[in-house]
């Protein structure tokens, strides 16, 4: 079963990598956006699915990394080779502070604190016009050219994003399947027991929050490279909620869940909206269908179905 799954994933990656050779530019760009959403949803899944901490403010890390990178490029004239790591580092540092504040509560309290923190950042982006250019956003940005590869070419950007996505998913997989990952899941299931067993539950949750902010920042960098424009709306509650939708629809607490969830949402948002005027309603119906008929998400519910077909208990 496991080998079969790995083979299927390898085939899917291979077919996806060949997309620019047989798909037109629209689909290549759409796939790039989907991959960025995959990284973002997977980073949120670390919190929601593995640590059991539902956040409604994760978009602030995507926006912060994007703004920091864009601002340093425009105002300080720094190269992408400097702005990218600096934006990642600064966003992760902000994630450390936000985590320290947000983890004073769990459950609904945590959700509200993450929402409040992200709303502060969103408000700053709107109101601090001298730095963020307010509602006009920051434009005129460029894409990097790592090792002389021009990422302005959509196929090049797609392959670059695919590579970063695979690295991020590999790292997240490594974390959740490690001894530390077992601790993260333990704090989700039985925090009281974990404390009695010698684990510092708060610290484990904080490290997870920081890791999620880092991967969220990676998605933010790719986002600003793709759009070459950044606007405060990327940090709005709708962006965080949409990412949460990707995680829940795909299946939280699974590696592939956010991947499928993000692809589904991006396709519905971009592709279906070209044909259906009320695409938001369609997204709502799809979400309702998933919650009612596949309550564990697309991946978990189908895996359970396949296991039961194979005669194993789900």
């Amino acid at each position: 079963m496991k080998n079969w799954r790995q083979l299927l994933i390898l085939c899917a990656v291979f077919v996806l990598a060949l997309l620019p050779l047989y798909g037109d530019e629209y689909f290549v760009n759409l796939a790039s956006q989907a991959l960025i959403a995959v990284i973002f949803a997977s980073s949120l899944n670390l919190l929601v699915g593995y640590a059991g901490l539902t956040s409604l403010g994760h978009a602030c890390f995507l926006g912060l990394a994007a703004y920091l990178s864009a601002w340093m490029g425009i105002n300080l004239g720094l190269e992408h080779a400097v702005t990218a790591p600096a934006a990642l580092l600064l966003t992760t540092l902000i994630g450390m502070v936000f985590g320290w504040i947000a983890l004073r509560a769990t459950g609904l309290g945590f959700l509200m604190l993450t929402l409040a923190l992200s709303q502060i950042v969103w408000g700053l982006a709107y109101r601090w016009v001298a730095v963020t250019n307010g509602d006009n956003g920051l434009s005129g940005l460029t894409r990097p050219s790592p090792f002389g590869i021009d990422l302005e070419v959509s196929s090049h950007f797609f392959w670059f994003t695919l590579l970063i996505t695979l690295v991020c998913l590999g790292l997240i997989r490594q974390i959740v399947q490690s001894a530390f990952g077992a601790s993260i899941k333990g704090t989700r299931d039985q925090p009281r027991r974990m404390t009695a067993l010698g684990y510092n539950v708060w610290a484990i949750r904080w490290f997870t929050y920081v890791a999620a902010s880092f991967f969220g920042a990676v998605a933010g960098l790719l986002y600003v490279y793709f759009h070459k424009f950044i606007h405060p709306s990327v940090m709005a509650i709708t962006m965080s909620a949409e990412s949460l939708l990707c995680v829940i629809a795909g299946g939280s607490g699974t590696l592939l869940g956010p991947v499928f969830g993000a692809i589904l949402v991006v396709i519905l948002k971009n592709y279906a909206s070209a044909y259906i005027e009320r695409w938001n309603m369609l997204l709502g119906f799809v979400f309702l269908f998933i919650v009612i008929f596949l309550p564990k998400g697309i991946v978990s519910s189908n895996l359970n179905f396949l296991k039961s077909k194979a005669g194993k208990k789900p």
């Binding site: 490594q174 974390i175 399947q177 490690s178 001894a179 530390f180 990952g181 077992a182 601790s183 333990g186 299931d189 039985q190 009281r192 027991r193 974990m194 404390t195 009695a196 067993l197 010698g198 684990y199 510092n200 539950v201």
Partner: protein
Amino acid sequence: MTFALEVKNLCKKFGGVAVTNNINLQIESGERCLIIGPNGAGKTTLFNQITGELLPSSGTVEVYGKDVTYLPPQARPHMGLSRTFQIINLFNHETAAHNVVLALLGVSRQRFNAFRKLSVTDELYEQALEILKSVDLSSSATRKVGEMSYGEQRRIEIGLAMSQKPKLLLLDEPLAGLSHDERLWIKDLIASIPRSTTIVMIEHDMDVALAFAEKISLLHYGTLIVEGDRDTVVNHPKTKEIYLGH
């Protein structure tokens, strides 16, 4: 003399209600101590203060001579203090072996390692199988705990605590809710724990518990009423009054 556990003037108040009131305990290394008392006597609250889950309003807790009153609860297992819970709270979606692995990791530096992949071939799983064998559950290593019987879950609960090789083990009603045969089995299991581990147990089943204990403390309304060996406590008029009403 250094005691395995020394509790001095321990008080815990919730508003105006004193749940534990000036409790003093001295338990020697290797001793088997039983804490008894009717419901609401403050037994579990006392345990929660010893393990650090609750901060006392006043008084101190010392484990092997070290003042741990304000030590964070997660630090205590690392100095040899383990406990079981009155209400079982295991990792129901995980296998029995994984439950024990989590307990082993809890007192290991490996718990921080994000680069060490946990797999069933890991040496931690081999150690977990040994622990499960000691509680007669080696054939259930790959079963999910949520699918096990209450009695089996109790055994895993004790297995988890024992896997951390504690110097001081607190057992909170380990026989509660078990059948007669299961009680006898758990009693034998507890009796087989080596003397290097000091045991403090809360239990309602007097037949089994009194046979186990060398020292008994009777709590009532948060106050330590009687303390001593089995005969002293059982024959004390206060014990008869509390348990028999005369």
